[in-house]
Symmetry: C2
């Protein structure tokens, strides 16, 4: 207990969390939050649901779970924390341990003393070099005020042809929020697929296939050059490949850490551009802590510094800083880049390293893609999911996993993240006791099943091509047989259109081995991969020497979209 002055700059997520924890641990400390905006302690992540009309009352975005608005009065009465909104910190005087702040409306300056200073200054949206961003109808989705502006436009019927620039988490959450049969929604992405850097390209392509089938338009590898307007309002998006009509544009090309204040005060800034902190969340000045979107994190697998502005880190770090500014020694060790997204009924999740990331870091990588059901296939609620697992050949350590599908993927990614935290290997998987009951799981969890498939691959029992590799072989004109082992009716519904394809149902294969040529490479294929694997083992067992199966089956095949 003390009369310690704890001063917190930033009142969105990291700051209030720090204040709440510090208050519980030190009832006598003077805790003050300075926030330059109008709202504090708000749920930025809830904005898409407000736009989608799933949260009707704007106030819910900054209310407690028991329905009380988290405004300065609440912080005063319930938390004993003094909050100044509209108060922008403009300088830190580290020698005097003071922060100079200015009221954004009145311009009045005010000096705040501190014993411990906490920087939760957050991030700001990147402004890309696009002409005419000041046209009416151009939005961002970073602050509550942004959400209000878009909601007003939606309600006024001003949002019909929407272009979302950027397909990271915020861009795709915006898509999910505003997508409707009454609107055309187009995503323009500079990189080659959706969620670049979050999903590997093959997974991004499959996600896009699912969304495209619902009506989303994607334009990839395309750079927005300028906006064109009519009467001051946006009318067209001009890219290096053409023009897209638009009466609304949402800019979501990412964020950068807000570090001006820290930098001006001489605190160390890292190579990621964010504030450097140790595992106690202390900056280079031991009396100044920083957390949330303005700091860099350590990747738990690689040990490298990363900029990973995620709400969960801000909240978890808030607890750590709350402990430490009141005399504790809590640590935040790092991140795995776990992320999860719901978009147009499709669940997307990932953790750890992607395939491309892992290869770039020099790992000897093996991967597998498995399509399966998220619970027993006979249960009426079962849905398909597709998982891609990435492991290190040498150590057999799990490096990463990505999942998409209508079915449950978030659970599997959380389990994988836990495994990766403990350095888990493929050999642990079968022994981890995950819960099974038909409404929740398959008897062997899909993530475990995927790991078993990857083990099979590492041990030479499963010899595969990825769908991308099969596509390449087809395009290259390789001479091989694509043996589709589904039944004829299933084959007739949808199959790869190519003269090299041959249908022969798995159930007949053992009897009709003479119909399969022995002098050619055979690639088996089915709907989700399991029958193709079975068929490959039958053929290999029967002495066929050049047999592979296509991972994930037709579920993993996006190439029959018009787009490819």
């Amino acid at each position: 207990m003390s009369n310690k002055k704890i001063l917190i700059i930033g009142g969105v997520a990291a700051g209030p969390k720090t204040a709440a924890r510090a208050r519980r641990l030190d009832p006598e400390a003077q805790i003050t939050i300075l926030e330059k905006g109008k709202y504090i302690s708000y749920a930025g992540c809830g904005m898409p649901f407000y736009l989608a009309g799933k949260i009707h009352d704007f106030d819910h975005l900054y209310s407690t779970s028991y329905g009380v608005k988290r405004d300065p009065d609440f912080f005063k009465s319930e938390r004993g924390v003094e909050v100044f909104t509209g108060m922008e910190a403009i300088a830190i005087d580290r020698d005097r341990k003071q922060v100079i702040a200015r009221h954004v409306d009145t311009g009045e300056e005010k000096v705040f003393d501190y014993d411990k200073l906490v920087l939760g200054t957050g991030s700001y949206p990147i402004t890309p070099p696009i002409e005419n961003l000041d046209l009416k109808g151009v939005y961002r989705l970073n602050h509550l005020e942004d959400a209000q502006l878009i909601k007003q436009a939606l309600d006024a019927g001003e949002v019909n042809d929407v272009v979302v620039i950027g397909s990271g988490f915020i861009g795709m959450e915006a898509v999910d929020a505003i997508f409707s049969p009454r609107r055309t929604v187009t995503v323009v992405e500079f990189k080659e697929t959706l969620l670049p850097g979050i999903l590997d390209q093959d997974m991004g392509n499959l996600l896009y296939k699912s969304l495209y089938e619902q009506g989303l338009e994607g334009r990839f590898g395309e750079k927005v050059l300028k906006l064109e307007g009519e009467d001051g309002r946006v009318a067209r998006v001009i890219t290096d490949k053409g023009a897209i009509d638009a009466d609304a544009v949402i800019l979501a090309v990412g964020v950068r850490p807000n570090v001006q204040l820290a930098q001006a005060a001489g605190l160390t800034i890292g190579e990621t551009g964010a504030i450097v902190v140790n595992e106690y969340m202390q900056t280079s000045d031991p009396d100044i802590y920083a957390l949330g979107d303005c700091v860099e994190n350590t990747h738990l697998l690689t040990g490298k510094k990363v900029f990973a502005p995620m709400a969960t880190y801000a909240n978890r770090q808030g607890r750590v800083v709350g402990d430490n500014v009141t005399g504790g020694q809590s640590t935040f060790k790092g991140v795995l880049g776990t992320g999860v997204l719901h978009c147009l009924g499709i669940n997307v999740a990932r953790t750890g390293l992607g395939e491309a990331q892992a290869r770039a870091l020099g790992y000897e990588v093996e991967t597998i893609r498995v399509a399966t059901f998220d619970m027993t296939h006979y249960h009426p609620n079962s849905n398909k999911i597709l998982l891609k697992m990435i492991a290190d050949k040498k150590t057999r350590r799990l490096l990463g996993i990505q999942g998409i599908g209508k079915g449950e993927v978030a659970k599997r990614i959380d389990v994988a993240a836990t495994m990766i935290y403990y350095g888990g290997t493929l050999d642990d998987l079968l022994n981890i006791d995950l819960g099974y009951s038909p409404p929740y799981n398959t008897p062997i969890d899909p993530m475990v099943h995927t790991g078993m498939a990857l083990k099979n691959k590492l041990e030479g029992v499963a010899v595969t091509y990825t769908p991308a590799e099969v596509k390449e072989k087809l395009d290259r004109g390789d001479d091989f047989i694509l043996l589709d082992v589904r039944t004829a009716p299933q084959f007739n519904m949808r199959h790869i259109e190519d003269p090299r394809i041959q249908q022969l149902a798995l159930g007949e294969l053992r009897q009709k081995l003479d119909q399969v040529p022995r002098d050619k490479e055979i690639v088996t294929v089915c709907v989700m991969g399991s029958r193709a694997y079975e068929a490959s083992r039958i053929l290999q067992g029967a002495g066929f020497t050049n047999v592979k199966f296509m991972e994930a089956g037709m579920e993993g095949w996006p190439y029959d979209m018009d787009e490819f």
Copy 2:
């Protein structure tokens, strides 16, 4: 590759899984399955969903995910595995490496040679010492034929007043399957609460409250003595406490391992009554493997042997045995007793040790109960869950967790099971990178949040009573103030009826400290526990020396049911 003879006794889950894996690894082995029943490779776990009408076609219970019936023809053509149904193994001749079997209809005997023998003989339902179990209308739910009988009776309108004897997983799955507003369903449990040994008593009570509110009748600590019939049909269940009208009775008092064959062959049987196997799933005869419901398992936390007949173990062990009978060296290390159940819209899950189990084993146990939302509270799909966590005070290791609620609990229990597998402690929790997005999670996952609360308790920051302890204090007549810190309208909706209760909203507490007596013990209470915790910290900070809060709030309070 070989001409090895792999003989498998039992064709439900463990056996066929073993056969499938062995076949993929050894295309030349002669693989044979003997099954005394009519059906093979069926989804026993799916029976409740068939009864509930959620699976319309009985055949789906033994079909592949791609719609093919798993009958002997399927095993022959797709798997190259010979299956004999209606074929009961009656003796093992270990010297000659032969199994003598008899056809259940014809009585014809047949001798099968083996190089490697696999026992997947499963379990059989316990027949309790109850008179007149042979009356019409008395069912079990262990085999497909049982499910067909019940379904016929349901369809014929013969099932109106149902008594389920036993409230383990199978009993509660039966309840979920047949519950309907048109039926009265009563569960009679010899122990003190639902799911005894699976849930701790306090959690079982809370589950019962949720089900009771929907119309389920529970009778606990009550022993069924006999059934009474009319015209050969069950009419009443007579217990040591009274009679219950019933036109249908489902017996679900547990199962025992089928070990006669193994025992007669001189294989070692463990103290649990099940077959002893090593981590390669080998019995005391290295050429004989056993798996599934007939073997005992090692508990991964305690190292003790347990009988845990769960479908997921049978399936996972099948893979291990499939590896090992074809020359591999795979291991199944043990179990954590993870279980998950869906009953009348309530999710139930548990892993590791329960509080009572952990105490009985001599651990220095600390526990916490936390009520919270399964995702951001402002999301329209959010639901409440209640988690109870059990940890070892000395090592801070997580020992177990149990969860119930309308919201998502299975995910949290899977993550906890993964942590326990790796020996995780409460101090790891905040650093495990679980995915967050409003439709999936709270910024700090509920399981992590629960662990933080338990850390607070271990470190003296949170000083609590459990709801059961508060109930005891009230009943004992202790002199204390039960300070309900919700708002007056929330308080008026539902609160603990007692003269010792006082309402004072958290938001006014700091200003109205003089209304709280300093000479009495104060126990704060709210709806889910968080405001009560906050209030306890305010009071402790203001110099009140005898303050505790009630864990989990009114969400954790089952005692205002008529029953208590």
